[in-house]
Amino acid sequence: MPQTIDVKILKVESEKRPEILKEMGDYLYDSGYTKETFTNAVIEREKKYPTGLEIPSAVNVALPHADIEHVKKQALLIAVPNGPVKFKRMDAPDKDVNVELILLPVIKNPEGYVKFLSKLTLFIQKKEFLELVRGKKYSAIAAAIREECLEPLMRNPT
């Protein structure tokens, strides 16, 4: 039985990292995906283990997340901020990276979710996806991720 991952996109208004993470966390809590502790766990984890990634051939991305104990239902919450947002780099936590795309995986079953992430990390570097991000085509971004990264797993779960 393939697992469910709801792919959602949120228009965030804040411009700074903690405020954006709070907006995203509040949305997830209000929509029933997470427990009350999730938002704070994401913000604190990001301070300790930053998740900004510099991708020279694509848009820089951040993958903030929290431990599974804070999660009720699996999702991926996407945000395309109004302008670049400073995150610290995963591989060099003392350095900043200007992020244009935030992907917040909400994980309950890591083994299954990894298959989705594996497709997602490759797909977000494709030219067709970059155009959607740069054009801020919100509903098309979520639809493309569902179609390219999630649906193949539903059809063929192995």
């Binding site: 283990y49 051939s57 599974i68 995963m90 936590p93 995986p105 994980i107 890591p110 594996s118 990390t121």
Partner: protein, 104 residues
């Protein structure tokens, strides 16, 4: 020949280390390396695990580890995580494994 033994560590041992593990398995098999021991832990546990269990290589996707003095070669797992530059990354790992006599 003893099999290669690699630790993968990330913040919570639930996301990036697992993703790196699945890409590493696939890449090692492509190189004809079929027997290996890949284990996952939290970065907070890595120093102690390396000291106690002595893996050949550690791959880390949370924080930079140069200053932590981990007692084995440590690589950033970002290439595995994003699937970019995987071949060059595997070259570096295989070089260490060769030096340690774990692969022919």
């Amino acid at each position: 020949m003893a099999k290669p033994f690699i630790y993968l560590a990330c913040g919570s041992a639930a996301m990036s280390a697992m993703l790196c593990k699945s890409r590493l398995e696939e890449a090692l098999r492509k190189r004809g390396i079929k027997n290996f021991d890949l284990r996952i832990c939290r970065v907070a546990e890595l120093y102690e695990n390396v000291r106690r269990l002595k893996p050949d290589v550690a791959i880390v996707t949370a924080g930079s580890f140069a200053e932590e003095d981990v007692e084995c070669p440590v690589f950033s797992g970002v290439p595995l995580m994003m699937g970019v530059g995987v071949d060059a990354f595997i070259d570096k790992v295989v070089d260490v494994l060769k030096e340690k006599g774990k692969v022919p």
